[in-house]
């Protein structure tokens, strides 16, 4: 079976493109003179880094949606939690350089008359602690949420709705000033990361390369999971969950594991995103963000991992272009894109390419109908199991 190797054809292309970007973008940024047509400006490096962070979020979402049928409409929450964990570290690095010059308390706390640092801010001045929290905070939330939801056999649209409610509830909570996380304004005005200025060209390039590495690693982790027997069980759950139970698999355990790994991956994406955009605020929890991530995956092709990453980059590139010209049209364009992809490209870009290649190869061997794997989780619902 060609599809079961860790790195297959499309994976090799993906990793090669990623490696080329991780080398070329820094080289063209650092060595080419400012006026040269080959020069990649630093703002563009950070923009590309942002796209790659989104691509990692899309890969994490594809792991649960594409392979296990868990349509999470709240994955932005895990992304934002990872981002807040990184943001808290970056806030503590400001030290006495804030407007109020308080060596311990971030500016917004001084402004809100905090006398001391809230207990949950302790430790975030230490990078390894913050890095662990980037994984643990989203991981813990997804574990508890997934445990309760999957054990109660909440599936399909009901699960999607409560994931949406989860991210909305978190958004409202983070908007409150007494959460001690900057309220409305969130966390910003970062100065240093690991002693390097976040504004510096070298730091921006390094963050871009790190994001590319994280994306490659995230892809490989997701790929290793999906080609293993574990991944086969995930697909079995997606296509016929009750059958999988009758076969003796504790499906809720598989779903919790996949959901937790996926959430931790989304947290890493958020943590890499924050220093590159320079701010994290509660609007990152907005339900629309999570839905947008679902559209990236649908456009690229769910259940392909590579497609999810490609979709994230393409849609965000389109977003950057369009919001530059017609800022108000973006949401309409996004909605139209989703409708059109669902109608005319239900397998997404990469899914359709694989199907074309596969059917051409199959024609050479034995003629037969193409496998119908369209919206299998909807078919499962229709069966009323």
């Amino acid at each position: 079976m060609t599809g079961s190797r860790l790195v297959d054809g499309k994976g090799a292309v993906f990793l090669a493109v990623l490696a080329a970007a991780a080398v070329l973008v820094p080289v063209l940024n650092l060595t080419m003179p400012e006026g040269s047509p080959l020069h990649v400006p630093t703002y563009l490096v950070s923009l590309l880094g942002k796209y790659l962070a989104y691509a990692l979020l899309a890969v994490s979402l594809d792991l649960v949606w594409g392979y296990c049928g868990i349509l999470s409409l709240g994955h932005g929450a895990f992304f934002a939690l990872g981002g807040y964990a990184m943001g808290m570290y970056l806030m503590r690095q400001i030290g006495p350089r804030g407007v109020y010059g308080n060596p311990v308390l971030p500016d917004f706390m001084v402004f809100l008359n905090y006398k001391e640092l809230p207990w949950y801010w302790h430790g975030f001045d230490i990078f390894p602690f913050a890095a662990v929290m980037v994984l643990v905070l989203p991981g813990l939330l997804s574990f508890v949420f997934g445990w309760l939801a999957f054990r109660s056999r909440v599936t399909g649209v009901y699960l999607s709705i409560i994931t949406q409610a989860m991210t909305f509830a978190l958004m409202l909570a983070f908007f409150r000033n007494d959460m001690g996380l900057g309220g409305n304004n969130g966390l910003t005005d970062f100065k240093d990361v690991l002693g390097f200025s976040v504004q510096a060209q070298g730091t921006r390039v390094a963050l871009f390369v790190l994001t590319a590495l994280a994306l490659a690693l995230g892809y490989l982790v997701a790929r290793a999971m999906t080609v293993s027997a574990f991944g086969k069980v995930l697909v079995a759950i997606r296509d016929a969950e009750s059958r999988t139970r009758f076969l003796g698999y504790r499906t809720e355990h598989f779903k919790v594991v996949a959901f937790t790994v996926s959430a931790a991956m989304a947290g890493v994406a958020g943590a890499l995103y924050v220093p590159q955009v320079g701010i994290i605020n509660p609007s990152e929890f907005a339900p629309a963000n999570s839905i947008e991530a679902v559209i990236w995956v649908a456009v690229g092709g769910r259940g392909t991992l590579v497609g999810a990453a490609l979709g994230a980059v393409l849609v965000n590139y389109a977003k950057t272009m369009l919001t530059g010209v017609l800022p108000d049209a973006w949401l309409f364009a996004l909605g139209a894109l989703f409708v059109l992809v669902t109608l005319f490209l239900p397998r997404g870009i990469v899914g359709t390419l694989i199907e074309r290649l596969g059917s051409r190869r199959a024609k050479a061997r034995l003629p037969g109908p193409a496998p119908d794997a369209l919206a299998p989780e909807l078919a499962e619902e229709g069966r009323g199991s």
Partner: protein, 260 residues
Amino acid sequence: MSTATLTAPAEASRLTSALLYLDDIRVTFDGYRALRGLSLTLAPGEMRAIIGPNGAGKTTMMDVVTGKTRPDTGTAMFDGRHDLTRLDETAIAGLGIGRKFQKPTVFESHTVADNILLALKGPRGSAASLFGWRNRVEAARIDAILETAGLVQHRRRPAADLSHGQKQWLEIGMLLAQDPKLLLVDEPVAGMTDAETEATATLLRRIARDHAVVVVEHDMAFVRALGCRVTCLHEGAVLAEGSIDSVSADPRVVEVYLGR
């Protein structure tokens, strides 16, 4: 796995020698009484055919045994010591009860071989699936099962591409891979051609040599071909039980099911 090494205390803790023991099972759906005091026992290694008109409670009985439906009252014991009314589907499957559904239910986007791989008996935890033996199963082991099910030449095809009859066989093959103590098979020959029906009867008889099997079926010729004890259900309870000849000669069975 451990049946050969059953120790004396384990033997003593058994409440019944029957493999499956159902007593006075009652199930009500929204006021409709699907099972009204169903009692049935099955000896280890026995093969049993269940017949009866639509609505007699055949599928509901399987739902009770496999944990899909919880009975209102009644006793359901497996292997003399497991109370099936307290366990869920996964736990019951783990005890060694396999089920084939009326409508063939295979994993359509997996290949035929992967369907068998997922069914193979062995640890089913998430960690075991990520790193464990199920990632290193030899193709020969899967092919041996596919050989029995007559599907070995289809091993690489997605299960979705199989014909209706082939899907039924694949599902029976998955049960073989699962190697349960008890197989529940719901209408295995519905929609099959005569030749397929005959092949299925041969396959089931072969499985019944070392597994207990319960087959629900409408096709009387098929039931006769199985050559086993027959139980006729009617309105949620047992109407008649015995050899195929005695049951099909029973005037009540003729009245409610076979017709005159």
